[in-house]
Amino acid sequence: MAQTLQGLSQSQYDASELLVIDQLRTSYPGLDLRLGTTLRELLVRPEASVSAQRSANVDELQATMSLSVMATNGTASAADVNAILSNFNMALAAGDLATGTVMIKVATSRIYNVGAGSIFATMAGLQYQVPAAIVVAPIPVAGQLPLFAAPDGTFYFLAPVVATVSGSVYNIQQGTALTPASQLFSYISSSAYVTFSGGTDSETVQSAINRIPAALSHRGLVNKTATEAQLRDVFTGSGVTIQAVSIQGYGDAAQIRDKHNVFGVAVGGRVDVYCRTFQDPMVYLLQKTGTRIADGTYQIAITAQEAPGFYAIRAITDVAGSALGSYQYTELRGTAGLANTFHDIDPNNAVVEAAYTVWQTSTITITGVPDNATQHIFKVEAYGTPGIQAIQAYMDDPAVRPVTSDYLVRCPLLCLVSCTAQVFYPIAKPVSITTLQVALAQYINSRSFVSTLTRSELVAVMLANGVTKINLGLNGMTLDGRVRGADGTWYTLRGDTLDIGSITNGANLLAPATCCFAAEQSSINITGVAE
């Protein structure tokens, strides 16, 4: 947008005026150009105004010609960015709405009707609405949700909600209090039943720059860039937001399906596609009825459809509980439906080769449950990647898939990061610990398939958010990460740098190209010291 005189700053004008005076004096040293002279008022001042306007327009043009400059400055409007992105048939991606489940406690057992659009809000003013009308009943029939009895004699039901505005700030933590905007009979309280997920901010300019190769690429399932381009093209606006794609193909470290021959050598055509369709870790929420197999020990089974391609269990608690902790459990992964698929998965190594795909199942044995009833209802939370079924179905479509290829879609292996830090800030300029937690989590979750995460990166984030000093001593800032290999082995990383490369194990699908760093706000513990 062209600058007007009113849009110029005093410093822009002053710089221009000095330049005009210098240029005039160089050519005509005999002119008196001091304030108050006729030459200054009638010649220098108008020329300086026009020149300043011209310079500002040139500066603005230069600042909006380069995406990298816009990414660095951070001041360009979305329209300016999109004007350049349109050259690549791209536009900045809009943010996504967070989704979650609200647990609503009531005093009376009866039928409840919650209308579509009913609002629940946090203390901070974040609003969520019930997307479709729900009916809750103590003995539900088809289309109704169940009303549960809580141990304290009250009752509760679970209502799905979606944020009213996009943004990662709407990914609130489990247990966050929510207040209904309208009255509900015998209402007691309501809170986030799980940590909300799926909310993402509008795309950054840097992220758009990273997407340009895929945007310019030929679309087709023929190479890494073209495959990513094809997926982004197809799924943009479909409700499945593809944040990052990483592909393991012929000869790559974590591609193990291409050696199914007597010589054990790699052949082409086998492709594993790791799709990150979330920013903050996304959690599947399941209510599973466990069957008692011993005193205080129950077993549940997660089918391939219930939590397709899930990565790892986040927590298992009582159905009305809050996952501040979790029951102890052991897990045995399996597969289902392999006989009905053309995909080349070795039955003798099916658990690993089908890991984190839509053919994966799991049997979980939960111990230490203070109950001996035949059945016990559990709340199971599992990390996953939403939309994996749709992506796999698309790639399996005979009209899409190259006939000689075998594309398997997997959930990325999440390196779950936890961090502790002691930070210092001026007493006159206090820093919000919550803001720091959110900033760190957003930074960690905004990166795609990268090999390392270092303390210095996180230090930079904290310093940029008002912290003046960070304790990097022995008991100061710590950084930990855990990654689950395809065979169920957990690998632990700790230290200044979390380096996926140091635990690369292709047979376990572990490689920098298959792993993403991810952090929940609750796993970042910061102690603030005012000084």
Binding site: G30, R34, L42, R45
Partner: protein, 165 residues
């Protein structure tokens, strides 16, 4: 008995002549008027340049110039608004505007890096209000000001306040 002196005006910095047609309305004061556009532009230097520079700053109204909002005072704007009720008020407005003008001129005169050197007979030392005449009956205001340069020369003139529409 004083010794006659001559001053060379060669190689001096010049300005466009803004105030000209110096006539003598009285025996002890000179009147200057603003040049007309149809008159041939002329260069001016020496004390005349200093006077027109001072007069211009004196009559500039603060906040009028977008990128020089602190320049000038409220002398002319108060007169035009009818906000000058007596000689005391007029004197006060003059003093404030005059002090601002002298401060601005002195500051630029000292800035030889940006503007070059200024001879002492073009550097303003003081401006003194010699007399003022405020006549509501005839709707006229007349200010006689004596300018003194750093070289010691003085010049008294009538500030060209136009009463035209």
């Amino acid at each position: 008995m004083s010794t006659p002196t001559t001053t060379s005006y060669q190689n001096r910095q010049v300005d466009l002549e803004l105030l000209q047609s110096i006539v003598a309305p009285s025996a002890d004061a000179q009147q200057v008027t603003i040049s007309n556009l149809n008159q041939t532009a002329r260069a001016v230097t020496g004390i005349e340049k200093t006077i027109q520079r001072y007069a211009q700053l004196l009559l500039t109204t603060q906040d009028d110039i977008y990128f020089a909002k602190t320049l000038g005072g409220y002398l002319l704007s108060s007169i035009m608004r009818g906000g000058v009720g007596d000689q005391g008020a007029l004197t006060h407005l003059f003093c404030v505007a005059s002090a601002n003008a002298i401060k601005t001129m002195s500051s630029d005169d000292a800035d030889t890096t940006s503007y070059g050197s200024q001879p002492t007979d073009e550097q303003i030392a003081s401006a003194e209000l010699i007399s003022l005449d405020l006549s509501p009956a005839t709707l006229t205001i007349s200010l006689s000001v004596q300018i003194t340069t750093a070289a010691g020369s003085s010049y008294t003139f009538v500030v060209p306040i136009s009463t035209a529409g």
